[in-house]
């Protein structure tokens, strides 16, 4: 079931601190969008908002999250509960914390099915899911507890739970960040395979550009709660435009071709703490910042949110928006 995903004007706040400001993205059906961001970028907030798993002190202040026609942001009550798992599924970073420590693996997967299918069928379906995520000896693993499995296996179990209901959208929140590189490679391969089989649309959150290169069709870069750049993955690596993206790529994207002991291209300063600052969130660290950047947040135009880039693209002082300096 391939569904296109379209997020429009999403604004989320924790208490009165705005974490995501007017974020708009779209993901073509059956493709993988990599969401790149650091701390304070709002990437986790976006993940939780889209899967409606925000903590109680967070609120969606505005915007829509359309998954195959259903607006996740607007759902409540019974509809929301049915949408969970079947419309949008969430894959977290820490698989050990995400599994019930006192319940056997098989049961935790079967739970997803029991509501619709009855207990014994559900148990079989759970074992089948374990097989689908390439776990050897799925029958035995089903009887174990989470702490008895390795990190990689636990993450596969989480993938099994997430995909059990054949969701339309899978939101993967840095699921391989804490895994060893060889285990990460296996998990990436698994997800790619399952994605091909089921056609699920994926939003994959990461801070690792090499993972982006490996799996992404499109990329959105978040910074300080806003979208900085949004384009096809190839385009990002070949011709990124936003100063932040360029900074990131300079630091590591080119790591494999740099000479030993060559200095890294570093972005000065630190990422902002959560909260909507006036103007462009990147301006304190941007070498190209101008006066306008301090007061006005740049709109997302042609896939980039930067006043300077927008001006240069049109070659005039006014830019496409008609605003003058």
């Amino acid at each position: 079931m391939s569904a296109p995903v379209s997020i429009e004007g999403l604004t989320v706040a924790y208490g009165d601190q705005v974490s995501l400001h007017d974020v708009s993205l779209d993901v073509p059906a059956g493709t993988v969008l990599a969401l790149v961001g650091e701390s304070g970028s709002g990437k986790s907030t976006l993940a939780h908002a889209a899967s409606r798993l925000l903590p109680p002190n967070a609120r969606i202040l505005g915007g829509t999250i359309s998954v195959g026609g259903t607006d996740m942001a607007a759902l409540t009550g019974h509809e929301l509960r049915s949408a969970r798992g079947s419309t949008v599924a969430y894959l977290p970073q820490d698989a050990l914390a995400a599994l019930n420590p006192v319940m056997r693996i098989g049961r935790q997967i079967a739970e997803v099915f029991t509501a619709a299918n009855g207990r014994s069928d559900a148990a079989e379906m759970a074992v089948e899911m374990l097989r689908r995520v390439s776990i050897r000896d799925p029958g035995q693993v089903a009887r174990k507890y989470p702490h008895q499995l390795s990190g990689g296996m636990r993450q596969r179990v989480m993938i099994a739970i997430a995909l059990a209901h054949r969701p339309q959208l899978l939101i993967a929140d840095e699921p391989t960040t804490a895994l060893d590189v060889t285990v990460q490679a296996e998990v990436l391969e698994l997800v790619a395979e399952l994605q091909r089989d089921t056609g699920v649309t994926v939003i994959w959150i990461t801070h690792d550009l090499s993972v982006v290169k490996e799996i992404a069709d499109t990329v959105a870069v978040l910074y300080g709660g806003r979208v900085a750049e949004h384009c096809a993955a190839d385009e990002l690596f070949a011709a990124a435009r936003h100063p932040y993206t360029l900074g990131l790529l300079g630091s590591f994207g080119g790591a494999r071709t740099a000479a030993p002991k060559e200095r890294f291209t570093a972005i000065p300063g630190s990422p902002p703490l959560r909260g909507g600052v006036p103007g462009c969130p990147f301006h304190p660290r941007c070498t190209r910042a101008e006066d306008r950047c301090r007061s006005e947040a740049p709109p997302l135009l042609g896939g980039v949110a930067c006043h300077v880039v927008a001006r240069e693209a049109t070659g005039t002082g006014a830019g496409e928006t008609g605003m003058t300096a």
Binding site: S86, Y90, P101, V102, A115
Partner: protein, 318 residues
Amino acid sequence: MAEHLSGWPTGQAKQLAVRLLLGCLTVLAVLTLTFVLQYAVPGDVARSIAGPRATPQLLAQIRDRLHLDAPLWDQYWRYLRGVLSGNLGESYVQKQPVRSLIAARLPATLLLGVTALVVEIALGGALGVWEALRGRRSTLLTCLNTGLLATPTFALGYLFLLVFAYQLAVLPITTGADAAHLVMPAVVLGLSGVPYYSSVVRDSMTATLASSHVRTAVAKGLPRWTVIRRHVLRCALSPVVTMAGMDIAVFLSGVVFVENVFGWPGIGQLQDQAFNNSDRPLLMGTVIVAAVLVVFGNLLADVIRVAVDPRARQEASA
């Protein structure tokens, strides 16, 4: 292979044996300490047995028979030998074997203790769950808990007696050992422990509710009550079991007051009488029994905790 044995490898059996041994040593230490403290208590044993009008000859006879003039360590050694062979001595005052006196009263105390524990866990647990699900602290509950903590058990007991037995006359005021007589002492003993359980359950549940695995359960689309019942409550259970184990000790001190206030015929009452009469064998006997109950109660609680929480099995055998 070990997994197939449902998680009870030999390392754990060894641990259990060590705990048992330590338990016995603890009981021995309690015994010794009580024996020593006995001698700090003023009172002439012989006189209290024989009564105020005893003749010096009678007193001398009693002292001789009970080896009261023998050196301390001799008396101690005699006693220890006796205990280990199951003989707890004879009550100075009631002229009966201590063992049978205690055995007659022990079931009543155990019944009281278990009922009070049920009251405590059920009420404290329910309040804790309610407050956790509410999301906010309840001023009313905080006041109630603080009030219960501040009120000594015996004071609460007398209060209950006054209100329910005397003024409202819904519960009996006399002594007795049937169900109607059990209500007040069990409730009073239970209430004094409710604040602890409600805090522990509330904190444990609040932490569990915010945890990642509960978020996973919600993300699966499970109904709210299923999530709470299946994923939250079981995880919040572990600290309750540990507390219950420790409670056995608390009960055995509270029981003395409660049994005396309500006239419940258990070993608490027996202990009180023994102390007032300087009836050393009886006193020592009750102390030993109490120590054994505490040590093995804690051990039982640990065993239950390991059975309930599979992570604890791993820790236990490590």
